[in-house]
Symmetry: C2
Subunit: 458 residues, 2 copies
């Protein structure tokens, strides 16, 4: 790629094209501290500027990698020295919050937590929530169809997008910023851009669905002695508290012990149980909701479904419980550590985890496996830690994905394919499905300039 980037520089105002030296002062991503690479990093301030940059790149055969908060877990945003990076960080405005219509219009670069807080200030609730909330952007959430902690009640990002604006590879602006819950006027083309990891267009603005802010939110941490019990308790909660249960995050004992070990989180429950779950309810009656939850917990303890439970007595105690689930720095050293986000039927989980553990022990007798995740969504996260330096991703992938084939699982529940899972896509999709994906990619980005080599191998 040798096209002169000088004309591109003049499309945006001063100082909004960073040269490679400045780009290298940035880290590649949250997960990769190596210097970021790119021919240039562009900082558009408007959809029109995004359109102008893409049109120029399209006309000049210049590949473009789009950047949001760089917290993605599939290396999809890692650019090369040949790419132009398009960072939406300056397009971070919350354009409108409409309390009556239950919708917010935000620019793609807006950080999730800022959006959560801004709508909360208006008495509303945007339920998408994940550990990276302080850095990840709405554009990245949409591009990856992010999941997170509240899928059990509110669905994934896809379910929370009422409208969006995106720019195609050739600079065409596709704008559907309507706030309607229902619109069957023609194909629902916004679905193309949700979860396609920036390969079919660059999302620039999004209309988010908002909900009334729940008057009451209750958290609990429970422990169970076997898998059937922790899965059975989920069924009980779904039967007894329907429309109220908003999170059920299971942690295998090794994970809990790993993050509450020396120098880690203080453990609110004993550290020797095989399973733990953080659960959350949302409702309209603070006192009655708390009583209902206590009754259900009491009965579950009585019937030995769970063997221990703690209900936090303050916001701080509640936050400390969530920290155990969300902040796992404790187990990230020594590197390398490999993170996975498989999905599979709930009933297949114990055998699957056992098979991975067996594979791991065979390959790395000293290796460790940490399992946790969104059980109700059939989504487990696994950290594989070989305790052996070097790049062991291929071997680690093999031992995690090989046992998945037999249970109809997916290699990505919520993180996407990026580049890390390219060779595993055929494990979860048929050749006909992948061929159709390629047809779509060719139709929308015929010269393969948007996030090339992501999702579909080149």
């Amino acid at each position: 790629m040798t096209t002169d980037l000088h004309p591109l520089k003049h499309l945006l105002g001063d100082n909004r094209q960073l040269p490679p030296d400045d780009v290298a002062r940035r880290a590649t991503s949250y997960w990769n501290s190596a210097p970021m690479q790119a021919r240039a990093l562009m900082l558009p301030r408007s959809t029109q500027e995004v359109s102008a940059v893409l049109r120029w790149c399209h006309e000049n055969g210049q590949s473009v990698v789009t950047h949001g908060g760089l917290t993605g877990c599939a290396a999809g945003a890692e650019a090369t020295a040949d790419d132009v990076v398009l960072s939406l960080e300056k397009m971070n405005r919350i354009v409108e919050i409409d309390p009556v219509g239950g919708a917010a219009v935000v620019e793609a670069g807006a950080v999730l937590q800022r959006v959560q807080e801004a709508v909360a200030d208006e008495g509303l609730y945007f339920p998408l929530d994940l550990g990276a909330r302080g850095s990840c952007t709405i554009g990245g959430n949409v591009a990856t169809n992010a999941g997170g902690n509240h899928v059990i009640r509110y669905g994934m990002t896809r379910a929370q997008v009422l409208g969006l604006e995106a720019v195609l590879a050739d600079g065409t602006v596709i704008s559907d910023l309507s706030k309607m819950l229902k619109n069957n006027a023609g194909y629902d083309i916004k679905q193309l851009f949700i979860g396609s990891e920036g390969t079919l267009g660059v999302v620039t603005r999004v209309v988010l669905r908002l909900f009334p802010r729940p008057a009451a939110r209750h958290t609990a941490l429970v422990a169970a002695t076997d898998f059937d019990a922790v899965a059975g308790f989920l069924s009980v909660l779904q039967q007894r508290l329907p429309g109220s249960l908003s999170a059920y995050e299971v942690m295998w004992g090794d994970y809990y012990r790993g993050v509450t070990g020396e120098g880690g989180h203080r453990p609110p429950l004993d550290r020797d149980y095989p399973y733990y779950a953080v659960l959350q309810t949302e409702g309209s009656e603070p006192v009655a909701d708390a009583e209902r939850l206590e009754i259900v917990l009491g009965e579950a303890l009585e019937h030995d479904r769970i063997v221990d439970a703690v209900i936090p007595k303050s916001e701080a105690e509640s936050a400390a419980i969530w920290d155990i689930r969300e902040n796992f720095e404790q187990i990230l050293e020594p590197q390398p550590v490999y993170l996975y986000d498989v999905s599979l039927p709930i009933r297949a989980m114990p055998d699957y985890v056992a098979a991975v553990q067996q594979n791991l022990t065979r390959r790395w007798p000293e290796g460790r496996l940490y399992v946790f995740g969104h059980m109700a969504d059939g989504n487990l996260h696994l950290f594989v830690k070989p305790f052996e330096s070097g790049d062991h991703r291929a071997a680690s992938d093999e031992l995690v994905y090989q046992p998945l084939a037999g249970v109809g699982g997916s290699v990505s529940a919520e993180h996407g394919i990026g580049v890390e899972k390219l060779r595993w896509l055929p494990h979860s999709r048929t050749p006909a499905e992948i061929a159709l994906m390629r047809t779509l990619k060719r139709s929308l980005d015929p010269t393969n300039l948007l996030n090339p080599g992501r999702v579909l191998a080149e």
Copy 2:
């Protein structure tokens, strides 16, 4: 179109290709009693047979119109004498109900009500529900992204599809029958087939998301004297009974009087109120849920949000209330009557309805307008009745859609474009959006043989 259809006949077994004379014994649709037209009607029994028929039609340039239950409200399934009709009526099996995984696999020709009943027998709940439940098919529901009465809590059909199998125009089978709630492994291509009205592929099997069967369901009919009150009461219900409210169907006074007039339904509440609403809650505690609803209704009566209310004392009384909302034969005579399904912001509804009424009265001083719909979804249905014989659709469309432009509304909330709204699509979609729809259509059906002329004008 003069290709000999004889070879096509041999692709399926005996008696599964009906000639034009037999086809003409069928009605065109629920809405149109004229004899059905087609070169032939094919009755495949399997996905492989659908694939074989489509491949042959693709190779021979033969247009195909797919039939489900023929209850669609946009004339999308009305074939011409040049089309081959592909009816999925013999592909109506419920292949599997998985209570543990919360999923059902059904063939596209399965009738909605049969699916509802079959999963109920297993203690589960498939929440999609609409007046045509006794005739409409799951394939049609998916192809049109049907809405219905429970969108407020469960979303449209799109939200209830975990996986699907579809056959492309050239016969390629795209199969994703996984039951996973979350799968971000590549593009979510099933979205292409949901709501595209059979123009991008023929849906043959669907994996439906199931829910636990609610232990309690409560209905009420309320009356209000002004629009702000009936809309305000919805907000109260959403705040007070979050996760429990499963329907809020508003009827304008003229509609209620129209269907409860002489020979119509028995009116459970006086007939002279300006607004009525049927509401439904679902929950886990039969007695406590009923009490909660009574308290909310009592307070609303006390604060004059609503002025009258009735809670049915039996299943039969509850069904009678729903009949008022769903069975409107009473107002379908004299023909013509034109049905609409616009969506728009709730707060814009009173001015919008007033503008339509004004347009109507100007055009047809004796004409009548009947308004009802899924208020919480921003979706109104309108019946326009000119009381003048002849074909007045164009004039009726004009007076309904013209006032919609100013409020950011859609010409179709849930019925789709079909052929009836072809010329109105540009009212709800930009030229760039429509161009992108055409790109998709060209990519997936390059010779324009699947439901040609539906959604996108030829």
